[in-house]
Symmetry: C2
Subunit: 322 residues, 2 copies
Amino acid sequence: MAPVSELIAKDLALLEQSIEQLLTTKVAFIREVVHHIIKSGGKRIRPVLVILSAKMCGAQDHKHIPYAAIIEFIHTATLLHDDVVDNAKIRRGRLTANTIWGNEPSVLVGDFLFTKSFDLMVQIENSEVLKVMSAATTSLAEGEIMELLKTSDLNTSEAEYFEVIANKTAVLIAAACEMGAILGNADAQRRNALRQFGHHLGMAFQLKDDFLDYVSTDSTLGKNVGIDLKEGKVTLPLIHTLRHSTPEEREIITTAFEKPKTTKRDFQKVKKIIEKYGGLAYTENVSKQHVDSAKEFLALFSPSPYRDALRDLATYIITRET
Amino acid sequence: MAPVSELIAKDLALLEQSIEQLLTTKVAFIREVVHHIIKSGGKRIRPVLVILSAKMCGAQDHKHIPYAAIIEFIHTATLLHDDVVDNAKIRRGRLTANTIWGNEPSVLVGDFLFTKSFDLMVQIENSEVLKVMSAATTSLAEGEIMELLKTSDLNTSEAEYFEVIANKTAVLIAAACEMGAILGNADAQRRNALRQFGHHLGMAFQLKDDFLDYVSTDSTLGKNVGIDLKEGKVTLPLIHTLRHSTPEEREIITTAFEKPKTTKRDFQKVKKIIEKYGGLAYTENVSKQHVDSAKEFLALFSPSPYRDALRDLATYIITRET
């Protein structure tokens, strides 16, 4: 993402300032918890998408900066709650907030970030953006619950999996792009195209995440590999595999899922079956298809460094190793 | 609250309908969890305040009904998260959602209710109400965190305690009243008076709650008595007592707080010291003072059955036994 960072270096600097400035609260401890997670080297993908989308649509001012900060707050809120729900110990190579301070502050500081984000948006008074963001965060909450309900359900269908990731991941990324379009005063057609771009990018992003969970190494990923299996998350590599596996292989997978503590050995066994049926290649391919679809929606826009950057970002989504 | 219920019987029926109608979601399970808590006989104090305030200010339509439903959603979201944070087993005489389904759904369904509430308000597009509500929910989240940080802190001052309860309880009740004023097209002076009324009512309400936690019985209260002590919540009866108690008595209280499992006997010991120094009478008196202050703010309004009902509600706050 280096060329992208250079292209919007000023906006990214303003973003970090804005994150600091907007994070006002009566309770100093809140800043401590938020800093721990928001300053831990996240990729800022959603803010970058807001910035690039706005600029590609012709935004000349910096009205998009606070929104870029706010979408990172919302994302951070979901990470805090996700880590509680998943009982995660490590994120981005660091201990999670719930590990350091316990579940209670993670739940409540996440709530603060949600409500603060709305409060900030309400103060700015752009009702179009507000509609997009409030609908997106509601879908996001629904997506998280859909995922929870599908935990350890080896009968999860591909369609159900796609619905989960569309809601829990793609909707907010689509909202980031659509928000940029609104702030860049794009017409309805371009606004819609950017939302679609974001949707496909988000799908590709989550698919790649679920792929990496099986193939990366702990140190590259900055979190534990094989965590989806441990947490009972039935993702596409496995769903594809279960369609083809023998009853004996399904039995091995079931056993690994039902164990209270999945070992490295269980993970390797399951991974071997997945590899046998090409579950990882299949997932990577679906991810690639979404990136291709995403890129098609950029054709509507005149060539510009920002359009190129969005295209590069889409490529990065599928080539990244973390 | 029987006469109040008769006075606004139609609005209360519409409220229950609205709660059902607005609770739309892609995930059926969400309704199940929300129903469990929202249909468990809560007092609907916040919705009633929205309705009475709007009607006292002259509202002739039913624009306030969806907002009355939404404020109950927000309150329900906080209950779901509170019960996770406090590890509570019983609420309103029933098992808590976290006891039945675990912490994860409680966290995520709470998130859904927060985001859905904003989504609904954004759709209605009353920016004044939106500002009041987004500021209030942010303060509420801050209040919950302030309270968490003061857990088991026997040096908590009266001022700190008041700040906690102002944020965690009074702000939302004040917002309910202010929202009613806005929807009843009240002028700035009356709107401010209703907010102040709500603030004092909210303070009185929480003080009475903290009083009841020491004096009620399990079956009357619908939840366990002495829970504040168990959860390390340092409330006014205790703060007052600690100002007067001997080193030996303070030691008894400290021991009860530091125990991983507080027994009925510990509770009785602490209660005895509190009674010795009049901690309960003191708390009840402060609660009563807030109710008196609240009532004064009603003087600005012309006599009406709604004004009488708000006055009765204020009296009910301090006379109630649950």
